[in-house]
């Protein structure tokens, strides 16, 4: 329980699957409390004895199945089973004599579905449940003759309207959140990809520099390897469960730096242990653009100043960066000058050595993708004055 609360508290760091697992666990706790609170009441309901016995049994079976799925790490299936359990309880109570419970249970079950924050699940199960609720209200005579309603038909209409309203409002909520997140996610992924490219340029430059200046790569330096060995052994000594052959594994890790990992993975005679470590270490080799270097760059990035500009810091479109045409033209000219002067790409030999030609820059400026930086108006300005750009910049 303590671990579950801790996980909820730090839920922002969980993956989608881990977050779903936490949600299912929470729903199961609610389900247990709810079942214990309500299932015994069913014995006082106006049902046949068979139903009175079958319902608790089905509840226990579905609950156990959900639990089993959770243990087997099938969080999505567990989610579906927990929803089925609530749906079953709702249908059961709606058929009983405590209709208000049934009606309120419609909301609780919708809430459980909302809790999972999955739009498809919500539309599917939530839609079916809402439709069922509307049908039930329409056909239940007891709900029609509410005591205090002046107009007898008004009660069910209010019940139905609020149920539809509740469903629709949460649907809007879902769509709004999804569309906002989608846009941000796209921006995030694009920037992540750009960072990946800049990192690969840097790593490539590093290896070229080492080659040119005849510097021993870090992973080949004996003092570096010794430090890694000492730190690893230090950590291992403090662990409850010690790794027996750690030094051997470290040796294999450094050995992998000069190997082609794909060929190791494809080798038929390679041992499963060698393949396993090759797969895992591929993510942490010093000379590859992988998780190790991503985290390393993030870390050292925190100790670099980056950009000194504060105003309009994150704006990259010329229209957002500048408030007048004069500055925009200067901006466009400087971008052109930069692209035709500086190295910005890999060349055909995979070296960071390519400067774009005038024609390549022209194609780039005309590309639809470049509208993230300049407007159609700016592009037309460039085309009209292309000769001046080429001759003077």
């Amino acid at each position: 329980m303590k671990r579950l609360i801790e996980k909820v508290r730090s839920s922002e760091f969980l993956t989608l699957n881990e977050a779903l697992k936490v949600k299912v666990s929470l729903v199961m706790i609610f389900l247990l409390i709810f079942g214990m609170m309500t299932v015994p009441i069913s014995f006082f309901e106006d049902f046949a004895l068979t139903i009175k016995i079958v319902v608790p049994l089905v509840f226990v079976a579905l609950f156990s199945l959900t639990f089993l799925m959770l243990i087997l790490d099938k969080s999505r299936l567990a989610m579906h089973f927990s929803i089925y359990t609530f749906l079953g309880l709702t249908v059961y109570y709606v058929g009983g004599s405590g209709q208000l419970y049934g009606y309120l249970l419609l909301f609780i079950t919708l809430t459980v579905i909302i809790f999972y924050q999955d739009i498809t699940t919500y539309i599917l199960y939530g839609g079916v449940l809402t439709a069922y609720g509307l049908y039930y209200i329409q056909t239940d005579e007891n709900l029609i003759s509410t005591i205090t309603d002046t107009i007898p038909q008004l009660g069910p209409i209010i019940y139905q309207s609020i149920l539809i309203g509740f469903f629709v409002v949460y649907l809007i909520h879902f769509i709004l959140t999804e569309s906002m997140n989608e846009k941000l996610n796209e921006e995030y992924l694009k920037t992540q990809k750009a960072n990946d490219i800049f990192r690969s340029y840097t790593l490539r430059y590093t290896s070229e520099l080492e080659e040119r200046d005849q510097i021993t790569p870090i992973y080949e330096r004996a003092d570096f390897q010794e430090s890694v060995r000492r730190i690893s052994l230090l950590i291992n000594a403090e662990m409850d469960k010690k790794i027996e052959n750690l030094e051997e594994i470290i040796e294999y890790y450094f050995f992998l730096h000069k190997q082609n990992i794909t060929s190791i993975l494809e080798k038929n005679n390679a041992s499963p242990t060698a393949i396993k470590y090759a797969e895992q270490f591929n993510n942490y080799l010093i000379n590859k653009n992988n998780d190790l270097n991503t985290v390393l760059f993030e870390f050292i990035g925190l100790h670099k100043e980056g950009l000194k500009i504060k105003i309009k810091r994150y704006n990259q479109h010329l229209d957002e960066m500048f408030s007048n045409k004069t500055n925009r033209i200067l901006g466009l000219a400087m971008i052109y000058k930069f692209l035709t002067t500086e190295i910005t790409q890999f060349d055909k030999w995979g070296r960071v050595n390519k400067i774009l030609s005038h024609q390549e820059v022209k194609n780039l400026l005309q590309s639809k993708l470049f509208r993230d930086f300049i407007s159609y108006e700016d592009m037309n300005f460039f085309l009209q004055n292309e000769k001046l750009f080429k001759e003077h910049l």
Binding site: F224, N327, I335, I343, L393
Partner: protein, 398 residues
């Protein structure tokens, strides 16, 4: 306490997170307003049908109008009324006031669930403080109605639902949705922060690239050449269009931005104000260099386009703590990581042990390392320092 973020850009990240939040909140305010607008007619009609006094109906109408007007003002005049959260709080209180009044006026079990609808409308805001307010208001309103007006829940020919059970339903409803909101809002804020952070990381990545390029080529970006070419281009352009050269003074100012103080420049160029100078800094190359960052990113535009598949699949976040890795892999990955930070690299100088200890505890780095390994590191940090002293010292020799 461990720092939230290390680095000079923290305030910029926070500002950017607030900006994203503010922009989203504006859109959400618009949707809440539309829903409220759509509710006026059905609610006043029901009130009319159950024969509520006309004056009371007018009051309902006025409260609705007031909330909508407040929301609209904050939405439209966001430059004059920047604190949009204020309209959110007013709307929350107003919606609950209307809901409780409706239950008391109509006095029927059917209208009780309008409280759930209110909860749903307010949760559109997706804000932590409002989520807490929403849950408390729903619970308090529910308890008040159930305890003070139990007759409302009587339905003919059925068993009388006990107040206790209705409260239990209400509690489960609130608890589930509150946890859901808590998880969701926390994830949302973390995501906003990640979006802002990755933008900062982009600057840092480009900065590292520029530094290494300079080291590799042995020459710096020729700033004077850039300005000279810009002068020549603007002169030819002005001539071609047949207008006065309006660029000349700006380029002169750009050249002076690196050496002169802002006040001196403002005195020297009375036609320019502080905002103009700030805007021009984006074109300056010696100190600010933003335009080079923009151009370098722009050059990669074709390679950073996303495929549909990339948008739909959830990628593991890069870390030294991947779930599927064995413990020995995590140990070696961390050992290599720490040793790499302690050694001089082509693209970055070694960090001191103190700097590493401080940064590793920050919120954005801590979760990238296995908890147990991090604990061991922090408990035995002096030993780690000792183990890497040789490679750390090698930079002095080189």
């Amino acid at each position: 306490m461990a720092p939230k973020t290390i680095g000079v850009a923290d305030s910029e990240i926070t500002k950017q997170v607030r900006k994203i939040e503010h922009d989203h909140l504006r859109t959400r305010t618009l949707f809440v307003n539309i829903i409220l607008l759509l509710l006026i007619f059905p609610i006043t009609s029901v009130l009319y049908l159950v024969e509520v006094a006309l004056l009371d109906i007018v009051v309902y109408f006025l409260v609705f109008t007031f909330i909508i007007a407040i929301n609209s003002s904050f939405y439209i005049y966001s430059h004059l009324l920047p604190n949009i959260k204020l309209s959110m709080y007013i709307t929350t209180l107003g919606v609950y006031l209307l809901s409780v009044s409706l239950v008391l006026d109509i006095q029927s079990s059917s209208i009780f669930t309008v409280l759930f609808l209110s909860y749903a409308i307010i949760s559109i805001y997706h804000d932590l403080k409002v989520a807490v307010m929403n849950s408390i208001l729903l619970l308090v309103s529910g308890i008040f109605i159930v305890s003070q007006f139990p007759d409302i829940f009587e339905i003919a020919h059925t068993l009388s639902p006990s107040a206790l059970y209705i409260l239990a339903f209400l509690t489960i409803f609130v608890a589930l949705l509150s946890i859901s909101s808590f998880v969701l809002i926390k994830r949302k804020l973390h995501f906003y922060r990640q979006v802002a952070q990755i933008k900062e990381q982009e600057f840092k990545h480009m900065d590292i690239f520029f530094d290494l390029q300079e080291k590799y080529s042995g020459s710096k970006q020729n700033v004077d050449e850039y300005y000279n070419h810009l002068e020549s281009f603007s002169k030819a352009l002005s001539k071609a269009i047949g207008v006065e050269n309006v660029f000349h003074e700006r380029i002169r100012l750009l050249r002076q931005l690196k050496d002169s103080k802002e006040a001196t420049l403002l005195n020297k160029y009375p036609d320019y104000n502080k905002a103009d100078l700030e805007e021009l800094k984006q074109l300056e190359l010696s100190i600010y260099n933003k335009i080079s960052f923009t151009a370098l990113k722009a050059a990669q535009i074709e390679r950073i386009q996303l495929k549909k598949k990339e948008l739909l699949t959830e990628k593991n976040q890069p870390s030294l703590n991947q779930r599927e890795d064995d413990l020995e892999t995590k140990i070696i990955a961390f050992a290599v990581f720490y040793a790499l930070l302690r050694i001089d690299k082509a693209f970055f100088r070694a960090l001191s042990h103190k700097q590493i200890v401080k940064t590793i505890q920050s919120e954005e780095v801590r979760h990238l390392v296995d908890d147990k390994i991090l604990d061991i590191f922090l408990k035995n940090d002096a030993e780690f320092d000792k183990a890497t002293r040789d490679i750390a010292l090698s930079r002095v020799k080189s």
